[in-house]
């Protein structure tokens, strides 16, 4: 395989060829290239349905690739600087699960920042691993969680020399990066693998002047949401493996949970997007960076909004900032991020990615035009003019060190009771309690509940923080473990 092969998209080409062959389908899917479901074909189009096929000769098989899927995966591996890239059709969640299941078995420890995506802790329920959390630090002015301090990682490694892996977000939802290179070095020195959640980092592999990617930093595995900044279809994703990984064993791990009917729509979208990124990624992300920077400058000029960027970099908990992210603090306008999120949608027909108590996040991509960006800026300026309120006292963020009493798995499967939240101090929690902002779990299954935690949940709820996770949607009761006291 040479670099010029990056001009090819083997899976896409095989599908194009298949279309010309007029094979009579006596296999699944039963819609038979769309002919059996007119309504669906009218909606999605003949082109789409004609390539919604099953594994067959010449089209390879995702569970055991030897042909065009293998070639396409190898090209993706080369493009991302990985030993191998796996096409994932169950979302980045399944890529994260596979990383965890590869490294950890029952009772094994992993060091990770508390602001990991829920899918990571859910993966511990599957394998029985024990999490060792690091305080990701919080920027109280902005109300966002940051990256891991390098010294905290070192301390955690020294205190848990038996841990098998270190987990890193690169970057966070808001664009914050930890010192991935140094974390990787110290982890490797202690024979720990480095797993990276790069759900928001596909572009780091192709753009210039962006934070370092996991593979370039020497990490061992990375889960990359190609469907976010990479332009492929929703739910398609890549799992990247570095040099230390046994790629055949990793395939077996992936097959534990991945579908045996991998969608060719999703896989071809990965193949085509990889080629596009390799050939044009530099220009694409140059444009995205320019659009985001233009929007940031204009939004900061409106006043009261704060679209933050590299000035947050402090060499440690904000080691780098991903400038393609347009994260905006809204507290100066006196409105919660979520209120602006709703106003943009209801009043100005604009759908943004995310809004929490103090921030909004608008996703900028190559699909945007000057016009879209102007519309967003103009709307934010109008919202300020029409709805501005005096600044309210913001939520004081407090990081409470979790006390992990048992593995999330044991807690998940244990017998539970529903108890009024105020009476749960001293019990072991049986479910998640998440607060947005700052997007950090307050409790995960298997953790000891304290008075301090209960007070914080009630306080954050009163302040308008969105609390999710518990079975009781009103967060008046919590599920606790029977006999956990």
């Amino acid at each position: 395989m040479t670099l010029s092969d990056q001009n090819r998209a083997p899976l896409y080409e095989a599908l194009e060829e298949l279309k010309t062959m007029h094979i009579v389908p006596f296999d699944v899917p039963g819609h038979k290239r769309g002919k059996g479901n007119k309504e669906l074909t009218d909606f999605l189009g003949v082109k789409c349905l004609s390539v919604d096929i099953n594994s067959m000769r010449h089209m390879d098989n995702l569970c055991h690739p030897t042909g065009v899927i293998k070639e396409a995966e190898e090209l993706a591996g080369q493009a991302f600087g990985a030993k191998h890239a796996y096409f994932m059709v169950n979302g980045t969640t399944s890529a994260v699960q596979s990383m965890v299941l590869y490294v950890l078995k029952r009772g094994d420890k992993i060091i990770l920042p508390r602001n990991v995506h829920r899918s990571v802790i859910n993966a511990f329920v599957l394998c029985g691993a024990i999490p060792v959390y690091i305080n990701p630090q919080i920027n109280s002015d902005l109300g966002i969680s940051l990256g891991m301090s390098y010294n905290d990682v070192v301390k955690a490694i020294e205190q848990n020399p038996d841990a098998k892996a270190v987990f890193v977000n690169n970057p966070t939802y808001y664009g914050i990066c930890s010192n991935l290179k140094k974390i990787t070095e110290i982890a490797h020195k202690h024979n720990m693998l480095v797993l990276v959640d790069e759900a928001h980092g596909t572009h780091l592999y192709f753009g210039e002047g962006l934070p370092v990617s996991a593979m370039a930093a020497g990490a061992d595995m990375a889960s990359v949401s190609m469907h976010k900044s990479g332009g492929s279809l929703t739910q398609s994703s890549l799992l990247l493996a570095g040099g230390n990984i046994n790629t055949d064993y990793l395939r077996q791990v992936i097959n534990l949970t991945q579908t045996t009917s991998g969608s060719y729509l999703l896989m071809s979208s990965l193949d085509i997007s990889r080629r596009r990124l390799y050939l044009h990624g530099k220009d694409i992300f140059k444009t995205v960076v320019e659009l985001a920077q233009y929007a940031r400058d204009e939004i900061n000029e409106i006043g009261d909004y704060y679209a933050y960027s590299k000035e947050l970099v402090n060499g440690d908990t904000v080691f780098d900032f991903d400038v393609t992210k347009l994260s905006i603090n809204t507290s100066g306008v006196g409105l919660a991020g979520i209120e602006i999120f709703d106003l943009l949608r209801d009043e100005y027909d604009i759908q943004i990615e995310f809004g929490d108590l103090e921030n909004i996040l608008a996703y900028i991509s190559v699909g945007d035009s000057d016009k879209n960006i102007e519309q967003l800026i103009g709307s934010l300026s109008e919202i300020r003019r029409r709805y501005k309120k005096p600044r309210t006292s913001s939520l004081k963020h407090e990081y409470i060190n979790p006390v992990v009493e048992m593995s999330p798995q044991d807690a998940f499967y244990a017998k539970k009771l529903s108890v009024e939240i105020k009476k749960t101090a001293g019990e072991i929690c049986g479910e998640f309690v998440m607060a947005y902002p700052p997007g950090i779990p307050i409790l995960a299954p298997g953790e000891r509940i304290t008075e301090q935690i209960i007070d914080y949940i009630i306080y954050a709820k009163e302040k308008g923080s969105l609390i999710t996770g518990p079975e009781d949607m009103h967060i008046q009761r919590l599920n606790i473990l029977q006999g956990g006291r």
Partner: protein, 283 residues
């Protein structure tokens, strides 16, 4: 040889004009620009395949979008024109010696250059010393101006393509903000006749109605626009387009017009029942 320009007015309706020759064609950063010479309508300009003006009927559009607000408030001194790359609006405005400043925010410099070269009868106001032209997106220009203008004229293309942002709620809000306390905004308001145009017309009216205390529509008959029946929006913070009309003062200017006159001004605000109904439904 027969050479016809055809424009889709709906999926099932075309307007075709026999063309003598094509004078110009190019694609700018924003849109495709074409100029044709026709037998019936003289020269005409098309942007992205939609006719913007013909030499024969452009006077109707340009007179109606300018003289109506000028007759309501003859003391207008400072004007912002958004779009208007063809210069027709400027040609009408510079007839008023009382106007002091006309700022123009046009996104596409190439349209201006093409019109100056091929449509000199229309694009003749750019050199007036009161005119300042800014080649930038109107949406961006307007954000930086607060309480500054007596009149804003939105001479936009259709609400798809480069003109899309000029039909949004935040744009109208930003216009409101850029106007003085007695400011007026007049805009190209699409047609009520064919379904798709009517939908855009209603959407625009709802957004303007929500943004301004006074929001009325008036009509004109423009043969080369879809259905020929065209609307303009008159939105204002203070002046009513009929009750506050200053007929005598306008007459005193002695401005020569071919379509507009004060009686027609009044009549143009009386709309067909089906149009009134559409507007009521969104108010």
């Amino acid at each position: 040889m027969e050479f016809w320009y055809s424009e889709k007015h709906t999926e099932n309706v075309y307007l075709s004009i026999k063309v003598d020759k094509q004078l110009y064609s190019s694609t700018s950063r924003f849109q495709r620009i074409d100029v044709f010479e026709s037998f019936e309508f003289g020269r005409f300009l098309a942007l992205d395949g939609f006719m913007m003006l013909t030499e024969k009927d452009e006077f109707i559009y340009h007179e109606m979008i300018t003289h109506v607000p000028m007759a309501v408030n003859p003391d207008i001194k400072k004007i912002l024109v958004i779009g208007a790359g063809d210069g027709g609006v400027l040609r009408e405005l510079i007839k008023y010696s009382t106007i002091e400043t006309i700022d123009v925010a046009e996104i596409d410099e190439e349209v201006v250059n093409v019109c100056k070269k091929f449509l000199p009868k229309t694009a003749c106001g750019f050199d007036d010393e009161r005119v300042n032209i800014y080649y930038q997106d109107g949406m961006k220009f307007i954000r930086r101006h607060v309480g500054e203008y007596d009149l804003i004229i939105v001479d936009s293309t259709d609400p798809f393509g480069p003109g899309e942002g000029l039909f949004t709620k935040e744009f109208y809000g930003n216009c409101y903000n850029a106007l003085k306390e007695d400011g007026i905004m007049v805009n190209q308001h699409e047609s009520p006749f064919y379904e798709e145009d009517a939908a855009a017309m209603k959407r625009a009216h709802k957004r303007i109605y929500d943004s301004f205390p006074i929001s009325k529509l008036y009509q004109a008959f423009i043969p080369t626009y879809p259905s020929g029946h065209w609307l303009f929006g008159f939105a204002s913070k203070k002046y009513h387009p009929l009750r506050d009309m200053n007929e005598a003062k306008w007459e005193s200017f002695g401005i020569k017009t071919r379509y507009y006159n004060p009686n027609l001004h009044k009549g143009s605000f009386y709309l067909p029942n089906y149009v009134e109904e559409m507007l009521e439904n969104v108010e």
